[in-house]
């Protein structure tokens, strides 16, 4: 009998598999059993209504995709009245992803969304599409610390900081988030990218650039999850390029306590359900009683900090 339970701070998840923000909505209930998931993570909302970016909003590259959706949002009132009640019928923790363009607005929505029915708040301090000049809070330790301190003061709910791969200071940003009171880190968001149609010579995304996600992102975000797990004591939730149980196992070995599955759900809406079953079968076949047999078990033989926290390829 395998125990798939994952603990993220005070929250206990029935298994370590949850959707990545932006790749999940009420609509998936048409296809899968929503009660099977470890958590429900909603698409980032902002306080105000937003329209989102021009189309095309998505394009594919070899084996992966780029997106610049742009956080269209119906606003917080709609969310509280309609979306939270939808998820309350499930026995699954609800994690609400929020964002804002400045720290004050961020703190305000963080406070306003701290309502019954919400179990944790994922603070999207990393979305590369909307911050000024593509610069997100999570690119630097100083801006991360500043916004996380303000967010910490705005809510008593667990705060999960979603980090960005668009930084050269991964461990410093992770430590800044931890120091400012984050309860967990989600590692990571999409990587700023571009694709051009060689016939029309036009960028393939309406917003010119967008975030890379899918299997080709995995080595990068896996490296970051590893570095973050080494750098902080709070749980790390791996996110990036997961499409099968082997990917999950790799993140857990690297030090992640749970994972988020995103783009794979676009290809196979039942991907998370399959992954949960395969993870359980793998653990049973290998005599693992619970996730502690995997989490942080990487055999890196006491590698020197200078190697672990490298921010460039040697």
């Amino acid at each position: 009998m395998v125990d798939l339970t994952a603990k993220i701070g005070a929250l206990t998840l029935k298994n370590p598999i949850m959707p990545a923000s932006g790749t999940f909505s009420e609509d998936l209930a048409d296809v899968i059993d929503m009660n099977a998931l470890g958590a429900h993570v909603t698409k980032t909302i902002t306080r105000e209504k937003r329209g989102g970016n021009p189309t095309p909003r998505v394009c594919e590259v070899r084996g992966s995709m780029l997106n610049s959706i742009g956080i269209p949002s119906k606003g917080i009132d709609y969310f509280i009245q309609n979306v939270i009640p939808f998820y309350q019928k499930y026995d699954v923790p609800l994690i609400v992803s929020i964002s804002a363009n400045n720290a004050d607005d961020f703190a305000r929505i963080c406070e306003e969304i701290s309502v019954p029915g919400v179990d944790a708040i994922e603070v999207n301090i990393s979305c590369p599409n909307i911050e000024e000049d593509g610069k997100a809070f999570a690119m630097r330790p100083s801006t991360t610390h500043q916004v996380m301190t303000q967010l910490r003061g705005a809510s008593d709910l667990p705060l999960w900081a979603k980090l960005s791969p668009n930084t050269g200071e991964t461990s410093e940003v992770a430590q800044a988030a931890e120091d400012a009171g984050a309860d967990a880190l989600v590692v990571a968001n999409t990587l700023l990218s571009m694709a051009i149609d060689i016939h029309s010579r036009k960028p393939k995304l309406g917003n010119l650039m967008g975030g890379l996600s899918g299997p080709s992102l995995k080595p990068i975000t896996l490296r970051m999850a590893y570095q973050c797990a080494k750098a902080v004591d709070i749980p790390v939730i791996g996110c990036g390029g997961i499409s099968k149980a082997e990917d999950v196992i790799e993140y857990l070995i690297a030090g992640a306590s749970a994972v988020q599955v995103g783009t794979a759900t676009f290809i196979n809406p039942t991907a998370m359900i399959t992954i949960i079953a395969e993870l359980e079968a793998y653990m049973a076949a290998n005599g693992m009683a619970d996730l502690s047999a995997l989490v942080g078990s990487v055999r890196d033989d006491d590698a020197a900090d200078a190697v672990v926290f490298m921010e460039t390829a040697p």
Partner: protein, 280 residues
């Protein structure tokens, strides 16, 4: 539901459930120089379809072609009694090139049926559809539904030349009156089509207009519909990622209550009110 509404229920798909299912290719043959017909052996649970709905196809990855995202495709025919699902497609890109390589016995993973299809209201006795090219595939199941409901259907089928006219026999089998127009014969111009439609309206023979895809046709039918007070519906296309409504990729703009709203083609569509649709 619009993206800007504040009080609306969370809308489910037309069917309330969709399935990811493995199907088996029965045949995948060229129909004429331009189109291929894919016939799948499909489980019953995915064949509860409505005209205008679509499936999201996981096109095979081959040595030559590596499509990544699924490709949305209108249903050309669904036959629960035979356990068959039909798609008519034109080979244009990575996804359809990969589809063209499917051989009988191969499997194809499909997701669906998805979206909201065409409606035929009770007082719409005389239906008129206009379609060109592969757009005819989208409208074919509407002919089937019209026959089931005992409505009179006129189908204006347009193409480059008489040789590549599609689905004429299928529409005739469904009891439709078929009018063919082609570029080669000089009969497919917008003003020619307008004259044909308006003559029928004058004779009291049009209660609703249907089309899909084309911006020029949308503008023509919007104009005719507004002038004569005739309702209509259009199926729209847009690049998609998830096909279920989660990713917010496939939005288009619509005019409603004197403002512009964005809706997802996969979820609120792909069929929309003719007058609300905006050209592109």
């Amino acid at each position: 539901m619009t993206q800007t509404d504040t009080a609306a229920e969370v809308r489910t798909s037309a069917n309330g459930e969709a399935f990811e299912a493995e199907t088996v290719v029965k045949s995948n043959e060229e129909v004429n120089g331009e189109y291929r017909l894919l016939i799948l052996d499909a489980p019953q649970r995915i064949l509860n379809c409505r005209p205008g709905q679509f499936f999201h196809l996981l096109c095979p990855v081959t040595t030559a072609h590596q499509p990544y995202l699924r490709r949305p495709m209108s249903i050309y025919g669904f036959y629960p009694e035979r356990g068959e699902l039909h798609f008519l497609y034109k080979v244009t890109g990575e996804g359809t090139r990969a589809l063209a390589e499917l051989r009988p016995g191969d499997t194809l993973n499909v997701l669906g049926p998805l979206g909201h299809g065409y409606t035929i209201q009770d007082d719409w006795q005389n239906l008129l559809l206009v379609a060109r090219g592969v757009g005819l595939a989208t409208l074919a199941p509407l002919a089937q539904e019209a026959r089931r409901l005992g409505r009179k259907l006129t189908a204006i089928c347009s193409a480059r030349s008489p040789e590549v006219l599609m689905s004429v026999d299928l529409f005739r089998e469904m009891g439709a009156e078929v009018i063919t127009v082609t570029d080669a014969e000089g009969t497919s111009g917008m003003e020619d089509i307008r004259a044909t439609i308006e003559a029928r309206i004058a004779a009291g023979e049009v209660d609703a207009l249907y089309t899909c895809g084309s911006n020029r046709m949308l503008k023509l039918l919007q104009d005719i519909g507004a002038k004569h007070g005739i309702p209509g519906e259009i199926a729209l296309e847009q690049q998609m990622a998830c096909g279920l409504g989660m990713c917010q990729c496939c939005v288009r703009s619509f005019r409603r209550d004197n403002r512009i709203v964005h809706e997802r083609v996969c979820r609120e569509g792909p069929v929309f009110d003719m007058q609300e649709a905006m050209g592109w």
